[in-house]
């Protein structure tokens, strides 16, 4: 599903964010990428969403070599993966429904299909009753659930979650992680980027540890030990 072959990312002039990363994530896997701040976790996500280009190496997502992806192809790539961010990135002047619908609108999906699918996805994340509210009228947990609904609505094969619980309390954190696990059970590959030790240790899935841009461990049912 995702191949990173000897990936390096060097920011000008010589700040090394990632160095010689080799990683293979299989379909339907749940992988936690862990590490301290500045370890290169978010850079890895940015390379997978073509926000950044790798300085060296090859990147393959869903069988598509995106190493030298053109600007024209970037939107096509992004429509095939779902991304959840720590700062949610919801459109503040759009309702929950409109935010989720936007991910389908950019793909050119018809209005009738949007009206059918969006409420279903909002029901899955428990926001069906709040779909006419604006993001500022929701709690932190609800906002993140709306962001997950948006990331899922176009049924991506891969869901990238970049510190999705970073701004949430422990109760909401548990809800979000449970939701991600549920999504994974339905067959979506989930890549969770976090530095939350408790979260990683609770879910008992594959753990990839980054330190100073290098991959230092990769364990099935691993733990995050500081």
């Amino acid at each position: 599903m995702i191949y990173l072959k000897k990936i390096s990312k060097i920011f000008y002039p010589k700040s090394i964010a990632l160095k010689d990363i080799n990683l293979h994530i299989k379909p339907k896997e749940f992988v936690s990428i862990v590490g301290q701040s500045g370890a290169g976790k978010s850079t890895m996500i940015k390379i997978l969403t073509a926000e950044e280009k790798a300085s060296n190496g090859n990147v393959v997502v869903g069988g598509w070599d995106i190493t030298d992806i053109s600007q024209k192809e970037v939107p096509v790539l992004r429509r095939q993966i779902g991304v959840v961010y720590q700062d949610f990135k919801l459109l503040q002047k759009k309702t929950v429904f409109e935010n989720v619908a936007f991910a389908l609108e950019v793909c050119g999906i018809s209005n009738s299909r949007i009206n059918q699918v969006v409420p279903q996805v909002l029901k899955i994340v428990g926001l069906k009753d709040k779909m006419d509210r604006y993001p500022q009228q929701l709690s932190g947990g609800e906002i993140q659930r709306a962001a997950i609904a948006r990331a899922l609505v176009h049924r991506p094969k891969i869901l990238l979650a970049d510190e999705p619980t970073g701004n949430l309390d422990s109760l909401n954190t548990k809800d979000i992680i449970d939701l991600l696990l549920k999504i994974n059970e339905f067959g979506t590959t989930v890549v969770l980027v976090t530095h939350n030790k408790d979260v990683v240790n609770r879910i008992k899935k594959r753990v990839v540890l980054l330190e100073s841009g290098k991959l230092v461990s990769d364990e099935e049912e691993g733990k995050y030990i500081l």
Binding site: R78, K89, Q92, F102, S110, R150
Partner: protein, 303 residues
């Protein structure tokens, strides 16, 4: 493509109304800039009309000797009318001149009595000559100074007008230069203000634009609503400017008429040149909105 177009339209209107205060401020700035330009147009028109009114009042009177016959005077009149510089020549007979003189001094019985005692009309006929342009009076006077007119003409009052004519000429050229310079500065300021207002409005959408791009929106899908919103801003601002300008010229008009004593009408001018004035303003507003929107959004879509 059709649903994409309708979505772009929907997003443009949604953004306009959901960011009401931002839209209101942007629109206000646009209206103020356009209003300033119209104010300048009004000022220019009034200045030109004032100069025109003063110019119309300037003329040269040529007084003929009493013994000169009407035919001789009319022959001179014909010659003057043949000059390129002359706009109009009005003939005043010696009888009319006497009549005018008596009317002018009707409250002074001594003068009237002296005229009666003379027993004959002491006044000759005269011609009132108006030039097409104030600069051309000198040429007309040079023509009248030719030797063969010496026996016919008693006096010319050119010297009385020389100063005022020269002042008007100077004033006209200065006003024209000034108006062009002020107009240029105004237009540049208006363009910069509009450009900046649109850029600031789009800056507040920076995060949203980036989020849209991360969701897989193409540059066109992100940019188009902003460009369309720019066109909506332009149309609304010109409409509002029209709504403000018309009552304003309506209010100013009576003062201009009484001041200039001419039939120059600002409202008529704006109505007759409606499509030129507001059409150009609309075109300019759309262009500057599109350029600034495109430029500002382009900065944030590079995600």
């Amino acid at each position: 493509m059709l649903s994409s177009g309708s979505r772009v339209l929907k997003f443009a209107f949604q953004d306009f109304f959901r960011n009401f205060w931002l839209s209101f401020v942007t629109l206000t700035i646009l209206v103020l800039a356009l209003f300033s330009i119209n104010l300048l147009i009004i000022f220019n028109l009034v200045a030109q009309a004032s100069i025109g009114a003063i110019e119309d009042k300037v003329n040269v009177s040529v007084y003929f000797k009493p013994e000169i016959t009407q035919d001789q005077v009319l022959a001179v009149s014909k010659n003057l009318q043949g000059l390129n510089e002359v706009k109009d020549v009005t003939y005043i007979s010696s009888e009319q001149a006497l009549e005018n003189f008596k009317t002018r001094h009707q409250d002074n019985p001594e003068i009237l009595q002296s005229i009666d005692e003379l027993g004959k009309n002491p006044l000759g006929a005269s011609l009132i000559v108006t030039a097409k342009v104030t600069d051309q009076y000198t040429k007309i006077m040079q023509y009248l100074a030719e030797p063969h007119y010496d026996n016919l003409i008693e006096s010319k009052n050119f010297d009385d007008h020389r100063l005022v004519i020269s002042r008007i000429s100077n004033l006209m050229s200065k006003v024209n230069t000034g108006v062009v310079a002020v107009a240029l500065v105004f237009v540049i300021i208006a363009l910069l203000i509009i450009f900046n207002a649109i850029r600031m409005a789009i800056y507040t959408h920076k995060e949203e634009i980036m989020a849209m791009k991360l969701l897989g929106a193409t540059n066109w899908f992100v940019q188009a609503p902003f460009l369309l919103e720019g066109i909506i801003f332009a149309i609304l601002s010109v409409l509002l400017t029209i709504i403000i300008v018309y009552p304003l010229v309506g209010v100013i008009q009576p003062y201009v008429s009484s001041l200039l004593e001419t039939n120059f009408n600002l409202v008529t001018y704006f109505t007759n040149n409606f499509f030129t004035i507001f059409g150009l303003e609309l075109l300019g507003a759309i262009l500057i909105n599109l350029i600034s929107s495109y430029w500002a959004v382009s900065k944030y879509v590079r995600v």
